[in-house]
């Protein structure tokens, strides 16, 4: 059971990570926040994105043996990146929920 919880956490961290990494690009930021104008703080978004990428790996390692965890992690990142791309093209509003206001503020 705890294994399943770690895996769900890893999947969520992967989606959050990919969302922030995507939003760090001007064109994707514009898709989600058309009114905000220019991208507020690119490096903060990128840094948090990368941090969650690592966090996702840590969660995978908690769930499985390292040899298995590395496969789960890489595949989760693939699915997360694809999901974020699909959200951006079909329901960009969804990413507003994922993106807390902290990034919306100008640094």
């Amino acid at each position: 059971m705890t294994e399943a919880i770690w895996l769900v956490a890893a999947a969520m961290a992967a989606v959050l990570s990919m969302s922030w990494l995507a939003l760090a690009y001007e064109n994707h930021w514009q898709q989600v926040f058309p009114q905000t104008g220019t991208l507020p703080n690119r490096s903060r978004l990128k840094l948090t994105g990368w941090a969650f990428l690592l966090l996702s790996a840590v969660f995978c390692l908690n769930a499985d043996h390292p040899s298995m965890a590395v496969l789960v992690w890489v595949m989760l990142l693939t699915v997360a990146a694809f999901s974020v791309a699909m959200m951006l093209s079909h329901r960009p509003g969804l990413l507003k929920m994922i993106c807390p206001p902290l990034f919306a503020a100008r640094a």
């Binding site: 895996l7 990919m18 496969l71 789960v72 595949m75 693939t78 990146a81 699909m86 093209s89």
Partner: protein, 565 residues
Amino acid sequence: MLNSLRMSMGWVHTWMGLVLGFVLMICFFFGALSVFDREIDRWAIPDTRFEPQPMPSFDKVLKPVFEQLQPDPVDMAATERRVVGSLPDPETLKLESLFAYNTHRDPVLLIGGEFAIPNEPIDPADDHQHVHGRATVNPATGELLNDDALKIGSDWFYPMHFSLNLNWMMLGYWIVGLAALVMLAGLVSGVIIHRKIFREFFTFRPWKNLFRSSLDLHNMTGVVALPFHFFFAFTALVIFASNIYLPVTHTTLKPLHEHHEMLEAARTGLPHEPSGVAAPLASVDAMVAEAKRRWAERDMAGDVGFLTINHLGDENAYVSIYRAGSDRVALVGEGIHFDASTGEVIREEPPRSVVSSIDEFLTGLHLQHFEHWMLRWLYVFGGLLGAICIATGFVLFVEKRKARHARNGSQGSRIVDALAVTTVTGMVLAAVGMLVANRLLPADLAGKGQWEQTAFWSVWGLAFLHAALRSSPVAKARHNPAWREQSLLVGLMSLSAVGLNWVTTGDHLIKTVFTDTYWAVAGVDLSLIVTALVAFYAAAKLRAPVAAQQKEQAVSRNKQVNAYD
């Protein structure tokens, strides 16, 4: 012409991708299905819809089953052609070695063995002097299952994935190997052509024109799943490298290989040859218990995945027991070998070397014996992303050229488009059509498996004919209506497969999900329903270009009519 690296890479990517893309499409799609091959088997053979079971007692269940095992008639005929004189009556052949193989997903057990033959080989260098036998057993009852019931998942979709089921001269293996090699080249050349990898990592713009949006999807599915694509193409080559693609140990280095086998036998104490002195078989169950005790001592899960006996009935016979690899990436392992007549341990395999561990990891990650349902689904997703990548590649090829081909009167785009329809929607039709045939044909039909294979190839052939006949608009730079028509058919056939499963077996989704849960069958049914939904959605989306095309034609006809007025 090809004056820059990117342009020359573009040429390689386009043409190699086109030619071998048709093969890769098959590898990806049937690979994705193979992740759940055992579950598809359960769907196709309703008699085996029971829970997976551990390796049964050898002494009580398997021993009598092995006594019934017969040499395979196809292998008998093939062996007869390689030896001097005719083979003895198959009933009289003696089993010289045997195996039983099981994974955590198998309700049924695969067993097999080699029967010794007395004949001399025609070619003295031919040392393959035995006939194989294979059978499937219900481990609960010890019954042999009907061989006519084709395991559609593990004996048809799975070999389709790596051999295209083209067994003549192992041609399919070689084509697939070449495709895997070209795929690696395609990944490298794709990365070189596509400069802005990270910038376009999340980019898909379905509102742009067909060429641009397909290119987005092609790049994105190629890049987000790049590690998956790379590792699966690479490990595919690793798996077959030593025994099929580069069999140096059985060709150039054969004497060295044989010498090494002798030395290894001497070192490990596992006899290389039989002694010729008969000896009885001690209790194998006691050996299994001892193996499990030793694994438990090392704090390892203790299910038997693979059991073999060599030199059966001889004084030099030995039993090898391997642990099932459900808890890690590597396959079976931690082998313990016993003297078959005394039951004493001859050898416990030491931990693997670094090189051997890497090899095990690479083959294991591809062959997936592990028990990890989430990773299995992630693999299915990776395989389908690969299929999308190749399908959009075909669309790009056609979209880029069809206007020019229409002007020049060339049929090139039309041919590629028809083949693309055949390998995308046509292939799904063939797979689903086989499942429909499986439910429509009576279970006791003689040669049922053969009929199912005929249905598979026939549906695929018809899909090709349909795609070719309907593709004439492509030569006029228009859209092929076959895409939409076959999508509709995929949807209808998938739903009818689910319905037929209900009617013929009584296993409907409410039962298999809620009241009498059986995920193997529920999973196949649910996947068929999802396939149907995706197919109907695609058909609805494809309606727009075809409808626009028809309107345009009507308008131009009216204009012509008006011109005459």
